[in-house]
Structures are given as C-alpha cells and as structure tokens.
C-alpha cells in the first residue's frame, strides 16, 4: 500500500511538472551519449590540432601532413574502393538471399536464424577459422587439390580481406533487405508483369524502388564499418597498411602520434558523414516525391 501511495505521489508530481518528466525520461540516455560519444569526439578534435603529443602547441600540421601525403591519400582511395567492392558484393549476395527467403521459402524463420547464427560465435574465432581456410596449404587449397586444381594460398591478399568482409557483413545486409522485401506486396510484382514488364524491368521499376529504404540501410550498415575497419585486414591481409583504419591504429599503438591519428580519424569521419548524407538523399530520390511507401 505504502509503495503504491508513493508511486501515486511520484506520478502526480510528474503530471504537474511535464518538463521534469521529459528530463527524467530523456536525461539518462542523453548523458550517456554526451559522456561516451560527444566528449571523446570533442577530445579527439582538440588533440588533432596539437603538435606531437597531447597538450602540445596548436597547429594545422597534422591535417596538412595527411592531406599533403600521396601515400596516405592512396590508402584512403584504396580503402574507399575496397569498401565499395565489399558493399556491392554483399548487397548482391544479400539481396538475392533475402529475396529467395521471402519469395520461395516457407521456412523463413529457420533460414533467418541460420543467417544470423554466426553472430553467436566470437568474431575473432570466426576470423581465425578463415585464416585456417585461406592460408597456403589450408582447407581451401586442400579442396582445390582434391579436384586437381593448383593451390591459391589466398591468405594475406586483398582477396582474402574481401572474402572476410563479405562473410562478416552479409547478415547485417540481409536483415534490412529481408525486412523491406517481406513488406513488399507480391501483387505489385504481378501487376507489373501483367502490364507488360518483364522480370528485369519489374525489378528495376517496382521491386528495387519499393525496397530502396531497406537497400540503402543495408548498404550503409556494410560500407561504414568496412571503411573504418582495421582488424579484419590485419588478420587476413597481413602487415601491409592496405586500409586507412590500420594507419590510424598504427599512429595510436605503434607510432604514438595520437594527434596525427586523431586528425586522420576526423577526416575519415567527415568523409563518412558526407557519404551518409548522399545515401539518404539518393534514397529519397528513389522513393519519389510521395515519400515512404505504405
């Protein structure tokens, strides 16, 4: 009884003070965001304008050094290309997978479960499994040998990194693809065919535009983490700094040039934000002026 009375008092109090209620609800998550996300970002921004070490003099040298270096820009470019490749491959496989789960299968739940099943295993363990498969004389080479093909020894190549990324991010893309494809009315596809559009035209003018939201979500979910990744390329791609995430990691862990690492991080973040905005715009255009499909 007493606790119920107290509860009544509390709710009455908040009814009379709606602003306090809003604060009580929104306050804690906002505080978490500020402390663990906004403040570190600001700290990194500050550090990126300092010389040599934390607390050094103010300078633009870190940015100038990064933007002026052809080596680094090449790495950024290669990272962009690799991320784009990963995104396209994952999107193609993921869309086909999601499409068949929706259109042709009665065991949807089971198949979706299988898609997300790898998440139950540690990422590092899965990567070591891939090392085992891809290394020269590994599982892949043995299998190739069985059918009389020469060994390839893919480990520590860009192809290995590509395979690793595709494997890791596929479920991340399949889920939003599946969500938008399963809400697509199959009658719309039939209507398109009935009106004279073949399968490819139907896909381009009905299926794809009506699932654009899910497709773009999936693309963004794959592209962004790939772009900033450093563990996968380190494990599967060897010691060469083929991706910009690895360069940043080096600055913090080996070179101990935190300001320079922070500056690269800021530039990369800016690039990602710009790409994100472009992707959202593209999504809006594909959906037309009518906005969200019902």
């Amino acid at each position: 009884m007493a606790s119920r009375d107290r509860l009544g008092t509390v709710s009455a109090f908040f009814r009379e003070h709606p602003r306090l209620r809003t604060l009580a609800i929104a306050g804690p998550p906002a505080a978490i965001l500020v402390v663990f996300f906004a403040l570190p970002l600001v700290a990194m921004l500050v550090v990126s304008f300092q010389t040599g070490q934390i607390g050094g003099a103010w300078t633009l040298e870190n940015y100038r050094g990064f933007v002026g270096s052809e080596t680094y820009l090449t790495v950024v470019w290669r990272t962009l290309l690799l991320s784009a490749q990963v995104t396209v491959i994952v999107a193609a496989i993921g869309y086909a997978l999601a499409y068949s789960i929706v259109r042709f299968s009665r065991r949807t739940t089971l198949l979706l479960l299988l898609v997300i099943l790898p998440f139950w295993t540690s990422y590092i363990i899965r990567m070591y499994a891939w090392i085992n498969i891809l290394q020269s004389g590994g599982v892949l080479d043995s299998l190739l040998g069985l059918v009389g093909l020469p060994a390839v020894g893919l480990l520590y190549t860009e192809t290995a990194v590509l395979i690793g990324f595709t494997y890791v991010w596929l479920p991340l893309a399949v889920l939003p693809f599946y969500a938008s494809l399963s809400s697509l009315d199959p009658d719309l596809i039939e209507a398109s065919k009935d009106l004279g559009a073949g399968p490819i035209r139907t896909f381009v003018s009905v299926t794809l535009p009506l699932t654009a939201t899910g497709v773009i979500t999936g693309l963004v979910l794959v592209f962004i983490p790939t772009f900033g990744s450093f563990i996968t390329p380190r494990l599967l791609g060897g010691t060469n700094n083929i991706m910009i995430g690895m360069v940043i990691e080096n600055q913090f862990k080996s070179a101990f040039n935190w300001p320079f690492g922070a500056a690269i991080g800021m530039v990369i973040s800016a690039v990602v934000v710009v790409l994100l905005v472009l992707a959202t715009r593209l999504g809006g255009d594909l959906l037309g002026d009518g906005g969200e499909p019902s």
Binding site: K193, L195, G196, G290
Partner: protein, 393 residues
C-alpha cells in the same frame, strides 16, 4: 469464334484439385462472371488466364492462339487485382501509363492517354496525385483505367469491388457496365457475390469445388437451375423433401407430407420411383392466404387442413398440381413493396415466402401454396454431393 476459349482446364496444388476439367468460352465484347463460393477455384481459373499460374492440364486460347506457357507480360490481357495493386511510389498518371511505357509509347503520348483515361473514369486532373491520397472508390477507378488504357483483348477482374461498401459497390457496377460499353472490351469477372454477378454479367459460369456447375445467362440460371447447388447459390430457395411415387414421360408424382403432387418432367432431374428428392421453390413463387381459405382455385384445402387424423392420406387423395399446406407465421420483415415471411409449416419445415401482402402477423395461422410448375426437383444424391447451402452467397 470466341475470344477466350478454355478447355479441360485443370489445376492441382499437391493433393488438392483446385480446378477440375473446366470448359467455357467468352465471346468478343461479352461480360462474363465466374461465380462461386470461397475456395471454389474461381480465382485460380482467372490467374491461369492471366498467366500467373500454370495449368496442370488443359488449354487456354485467346483469339485462337494457345496461351499456356506464355508469360503474363506477353499476354494481351490485363487484370484488376482484388487489392488493386496500385504502385505506391508512382503518381496516378504514372500508374495508368505504366503498361504503355513498357510497350515503348513515348512519354508525352502515354501521359496524354492516361489523362484521357482519367476523364473516362471521371477523375479529370488527378494525374499527379499519389494513390495513397485517393479514396477507395477513386483507387478503384485508377485501377480500372490502368487496365483499360492498354486496350487489351480481355480485362480480368479478381473481385475488386468486394472491399467497397454496398452503395459504392452498386455505383461501381454501373460504372463497369458503362466503361465496358464505351471501350468495347471483353470482361471476365470473378466474384463470390451473386448480387454483383447478377447485376453486371451477360453470362455466368457457376463454379463449385473446382468444377463447373452450370453456364448460362442470369435468367437461365435463375429460372432453370441444373442442380440444387445452383438453385441455392443464385437467389434464395426453399427446399422440401419428397418421395417419388410415380413417373411418366410427362410428369413425376411425389409424396410430400400428406400431399401427393404431380410435377412436370421439364423441371425435374431424371429420378427413379421411390427416390428421395428435393423440391425447391423460390420465395416469391409461394402464395400465402388466411388459414382455411383456398390459396388457389385448384388447391386441395382438404389436404391442407388435415393434420394427423387422416390415416390413408395420400394414397386415395386426388393428385394435385399444387403444393398446399398450413403453417404459423414466425416472423415478418418488410422489404418495401414485398414482405418476407418466415413460416413454420406443419409438415414441411420452415419456408420463406415473399408476397405482396403485409397482412399476416407473427403467430397467425396461414395457408401456403405454390404451383407444381414453379418448382425444381433435384435428386437427393446430388444434394449430398454439393454439401453446404452456400451461406456466403
């Protein structure tokens, strides 16, 4: 030559025989409805004509050309879907012009034709609206326009009016007829709603359990149903169980309760002596009079009032040509010019009678009669096959 020719059409889904050896034709310019209860296979027939389902067996020909195996986008057929299936990301004009665009018609021409089609369905100026901004009735019109604008040989309808309220549905029915006349297109319409089918169709194909029950004009199906199912499904019908006692070339004679009536052969199934039959009669064919009166000149008032005591009842009774009995009015419902009476008869169970008079009150005793020439007689085994009485009609 008929525009659409369907022969031996059969579709199995695993063990389920959805469509069973269906034959029918649709002539150029005709409005034909496929009418049947839910699960009768009527939508499957339509989807096979559209090309969305492949027949297990049988042939479909459009203008003499075999259609089976031709994909839907290469058939000169357009469909109005049950849920309309308007593209939500395209404007009204883009929806209507979709088919023309696929056919390679230039943009200014398809926009122009979409605009004119919108005038025809009385939605002038709706070109740039989005489908979601339209009411249910307006969406129906857009869906219609989208099918008609391509000038297909045949337009298919998969119960598109079922989601509308009664008044709007009746309005759209007359719109459909007007549009069919104006565009001179052939319509094949699938529905479980006999009201819609009767109102709009030139001919009906009645389907039950995947098989055709009867094909004919609305009048033929109503006046001369070939099975108990059709009699039940097209309009309302009363059923009285009787036993055949005699059969000649001209008539059959049945015992029904204490009455013995002779019925013209023309309205009866081929039945054997001693067979149990259903005698069906439409509510508006039944006459009602005050108890003890003759409801017709030739009616057997003696038989009608004799309940129980008459031991050698039908055997010696004169064979009449009228069904007569007595009963008690259970309920009355006013239907404008007519009244519907639920009457519990003393011998034949409950009947529904539709008569001009509003004079009888509930619990009042009445005499009931109808002419033998107005009934339809079906053998009971046919009844057992057709099963339930089509309450969803």
């Amino acid at each position: 030559m008929s525009l659409l020719r369907v022969r031996g059409l059969t579709k199995r889904f695993g063990d389920l025989l959805a469509v069973d050896d269906v034959d029918f034709d649709v002539a150029d310019g005709e409005f034909v409805s496929i009418l049947g209860p839910s699960g009768s296979g009527k939508s499957t027939v339509l989807r096979m004509v559209a090309g969305f389902e492949t027949p297990t067996d049988g042939a479909i020909a459009l203008n003499g050309e075999p259609m089976v195996g031709t994909p839907p986008f290469e058939r000169d057929v357009n469909m109005v879907f049950q849920d309309l299936a308007l593209f939500p990301h395209l404007t009204v004009a883009e929806n209507i012009g979709y088919g023309l665009k696929q056919a390679g018609v230039p943009a200014d021409e398809w926009r122009d034709r979409a605009g004119r089609m919108l005038e025809m369905v009385r939605l002038d100026g709706y070109d740039d609206r989005m489908p979601t901004e339209l009411s249910g009735g307006e969406q129906q019109r857009v869906a219609l326009a989208r099918a008609l604008v391509n000038e297909p040989a045949l337009v298919l309808f998969d119960e598109p009016l079922s989601s509308l309220d009664r008044k709007l549905r009746q309005h759209m029915q007359s719109e459909l007829q007007r549009l069919q006349a104006e565009t001179e297109t052939t319509f094949l319409y699938v529905t479980h709603d006999q009201e819609v089918a009767l109102a709009v169709s030139d001919r009906l194909v009645v389907l039950n359990d995947g098989a055709i029950q009867q094909i004919g004009t609305v009048e033929a199906l109503y006046e001369d149903p070939q099975s108990r199912f059709v009699a039940d499904f097209i309009g309302d019908v009363n059923t009285v169980t009787a036993r055949v006692t005699d059969a000649t070339d001209e008539t059959i004679t049945v015992d029904v309760g204490s009455d013995r009536v002779s019925i013209p052969r023309s309205v009866a199934d081929d039945v054997a002596i001693d067979a149990s039959v259903d005698v069906c009669v439409r509510p508006f064919r039944i006459r009602v009079g005050p108890a003890g009166t003759k409801t017709t000149e030739q009616s057997e008032t003696d038989g009608a009032t004799a309940d129980g005591g008459d031991l050698d009842r039908a055997t010696d009774a004169e064979i009449g040509e009228t069904f007569t009995t007595t009963g008690t009015v259970r309920s009355r419902s006013y239907q404008g010019s007519d009244s519907l009476y639920e009457i519990a008869t003393d011998e034949w169970g409950r009947l529904t009678a539709e008569v001009r008079s509003n004079a009888y009150e509930p619990d009042e005793r009445v005499a009931v009669a109808w002419d033998a020439s107005d009934v339809h007689v079906f053998s009971r085994s046919a009844d057992d096959r057709t099963g339930d009485r089509g309450d969803d009609a």
